[in-house]
Symmetry: C2
Subunit: 162 residues, 2 copies
């Protein structure tokens, strides 16, 4: 794997490993709590990140989403929408399944594949905006995970996070 | 500029532009508030991110820090350490100065420079760990900014952030 691709994927893996560690450190009660008064719960943010990862599959041309129902619950609607959310244990299983699938697809990617257009950009637009490629999706999604991970860190007691 | 470097730098610029927009949208009173009960204030996190950006200069071999005194206040000590913090207006000025300097240095970097080792890794370690280069520093610092930006977003009223 080319070094710069390796670095991009390593950053993605690092943020997902941190997320995995956090959700397995917190109790279900902690995860169900608001990250700050009136803000999203940990469960919602975890579901939101899983839904975004699931949506990587079609956008990268890797296949269909595993759990398309997550889009309505965690992307199109806010927390406390009244929609039923999967249990935390169910979400943890989804997270493992999706990440394992993403990892397998990453292993098959050649350098040129990463610089190919993702499925949400047209060939015409891509001709003018070659940065709208699959590697850029990974860069942006990694920062998206970091953003919400910073919020979810507030679920841990201050003694845990230092 | 090579496309993958352009993408990495674009991500860095995007997160810094978001941070800049946020701190200029919030009042000084909002910025001085805790991002969540008992957590870091916006001022501290802003100072922390500025201190980390200032430290980019030596680690990238771009020169000395502009404001080395920030390290004690915002990196080595927690918020509410009792140490006097620069005013928010002063911090905004620092942020502008440091970012302008970083931008100038980025413009001078050649592809090979980005894959050169940063100053915090020895030549011996770098031989075995070639990913510990300057481009990787930018990738990791961008995610670090995203992490705290997610927390600082809690300073805005919910109406502002949607």
């Amino acid at each position: 794997m080319e070094l710069f691709i390796k670095m991009t994927i390593a950053a993605w893996n690092t943020q997902n490993a941190r997320l995995n560690k956090l959700v397995n450190t917190l109790s279900n009660e902690q995860l169900a709590t608001e990250t700050a008064p009136g803000r999203n719960t940990g469960t919602y943010l975890f579901g939101h990140l899983i839904a975004v990862s699931d949506a990587l599959l079609p956008i990268m041309g890797w296949g269909e989403k595993f759990y398309p129902e997550l889009e309505t619950i965690f992307l199109k609607n806010p927390d406390k929408s009244g929609l039923e959310q999967p249990s935390i244990e169910t979400l943890k299983g989804y997270f493992t399944t999706i990440n394992a699938c993403i990892e397998q697809h990453i292993d098959t990617m050649q350098v040129a594949d990463w610089f190919d257009r993702h499925t949400a950009v047209s060939a015409a637009d891509f001709a003018n905006e070659p940065h709208r490629n699959k590697l850029n999706i990974m860069i942006n999604r990694t920062n998206h995970t970091s953003y919400h991970l910073g919020q979810m860190a507030y679920l841990a007691s201050k003694a845990d996070v230092g």
